[in-house]
Amino acid sequence: MAAVTSLDVAAIRKDFPLLAQVREGKRITYLDSGASALPPHQVVSAMATYQETTHANVHRGVYATAERATHLYEQARVDVGRFIGAAKPASEIVFTKNCTEAFNLLAQSWGLANLGPNSAIVLTEMEHHANIVPWLQLQSRLGFEIRYLSVAEDRTLDLSNLAHLLDGASLLSVTATSNVLGTVNPIADLSAAAHAAGALIAVDGAQAVPHASIDVAALDLDFLAFSPHKVYGPTGIGVLYAKAAHLDAMPPFLGGGGMIKDVRLDGFLAADGPQRFEAGTPPIAEAVGLSAALAYVSGIGLDAIHAHHRSLTTYALSAIASTFGDTVKVQGPADGPNRAGVLSLTVDGVHAHDIAQVLDTYGVCVRPGHHCAKPLMRRLGVNATARASFGIYNDRDDVDTLVEALAATVNMFA
């Protein structure tokens, strides 16, 4: 099979010192980028340089170092906004603690202000708990209806009753790419359908943003949340994009320093823009690291990254099918343009935890478990899968090692 990748993986791997480690004579086969992508040297170095030369709190001091820190932090906001195509990059990006907090912000701010006993929202059966639990928590207070798009037998979303579910709904909140199935959902169509029904659309971009370019303006998204540490950035920071018109009307979520214009003993005035949602000292070094990560990814090019992951996915699906037949199943849609590089493996009679344990002895890092998607696990009729997910540093050798380690697993438990 001819390689269709234009990524120089050997050169890329040099930026990731963790991958150079050898354990018991075996190289590390890191197939867990869906949980957290490794940060390249450039990201680690940008954060260290900031900490060593520019560390200060932001939006407070007037000395030169503090001005510089504030500039770097606000520049990161603009960098993120531009990366996802925001119309107003400086005023539509909120930094949170992680992607999960972004959804909690959305629910507790927009949701609390806009939902009530007679409202409805639409989610899907393939959502991560981050896009289910915050809504369930709010539902117990407000009593609105939650409707779910179901997962079809071909492991795509069943859209046959979409118009019916959207009827009277205020929001459709959906993942762009399933973190379990690798299903890439038709976000442009879903956005158009939601708006035609008078609903807003929120998108979980955690698994999508690292693999393909997302343009929130072109897709006309109202909200997008994503996870910087899945885009080769640091942990400790999350992103919520919201159209300026929504953000300006949303009440604060967390209260405290930094999010106010004025405070008196009997009340407060909230700050304008993203700062209204960033109470307390924000993740400054992490924002600097995120900027560096997005620059790194842009330098390689999202189109090339997407093509590389597609190529690896096709190679892996074919290798697993030809080696194991029906013994090893990959839960998810058949290969195709809307199939992301997330391979949820199940083996009859072998639990995902045991698969992952044996794989570890081959240096293969995968994630066993329910992947924070228990409703989807019930729909699939499995209690866990062993998930391999691709990053820019993976190559066919990694897939070959995975297949070799899977063969040993099947042997051991057969």
Partner: protein, 155 residues
């Protein structure tokens, strides 16, 4: 690989493939559910205690080889024992895996010197101690059992 063979001893694979005492008991036996949120393992334990003696145990649910075999070995070990003997066995078992009272593995705690012979077949799970993440799999059935015994005691 040596550690892996320690973990997946033949006796464990046997109890995984052919778990003993599978199923559920009818009331008045009590039914307790246990979850391992880490890996999605679920256990449904049915427990019958008469005059301070565990007269029957059944194990349902689904899990990995370690949690399934541990549940199977546990059910075989406690059947017919008094509640006091079962609690003692539980403490010995957890001691073997360096598990504290809170049920969490504490690497700073040296394994409690235990009489492995008193554990019988349960000693096969000793290799799990080298895999801290898997200890919760091995203790799931035992923690669920302890919960059941507490519920019975509170009646």
């Amino acid at each position: 690989m040596a550690d892996l063979e320690e973990l997946y001893r033949e006796i464990i694979l046997d109890h995984y493939r052919n778990p003993r005492n599978r199923g559920e008991l009818d009331p008045p036996a009590i039914r307790v559910e246990g979850f391992n949120p880490l890996c999605g393992d679920e256990i449904v334990l049915s427990l019958a205690v008469t005059d301070g003696v565990v007269t029957d145990v059944k194990v349902g649910g689904s899990g990995c080889s370690i949690s399934t075999s541990s549940g199977s070995l546990m059910s075989a070990a406690v059947k017919g024992k008094t509640v006091d003997e079962v609690r003692e066995l539980l403490a010995t078992f957890k001691g073997m895996l360096s598990v504290g009272d809170e049920g969490e593995h504490d690497p700073s705690v040296e394994p409690t010197p235990v009489n492995l012979r008193s554990l019988g077949e349960l000693a096969a799970l000793q290799g799990v101690a080298k895999f801290p993440v898997r200890i919760k799999c091995a203790t799931l059935s035992w923690n669920t059992l302890a919960q059941g015994l507490d519920e019975i005691a509170a009646r």
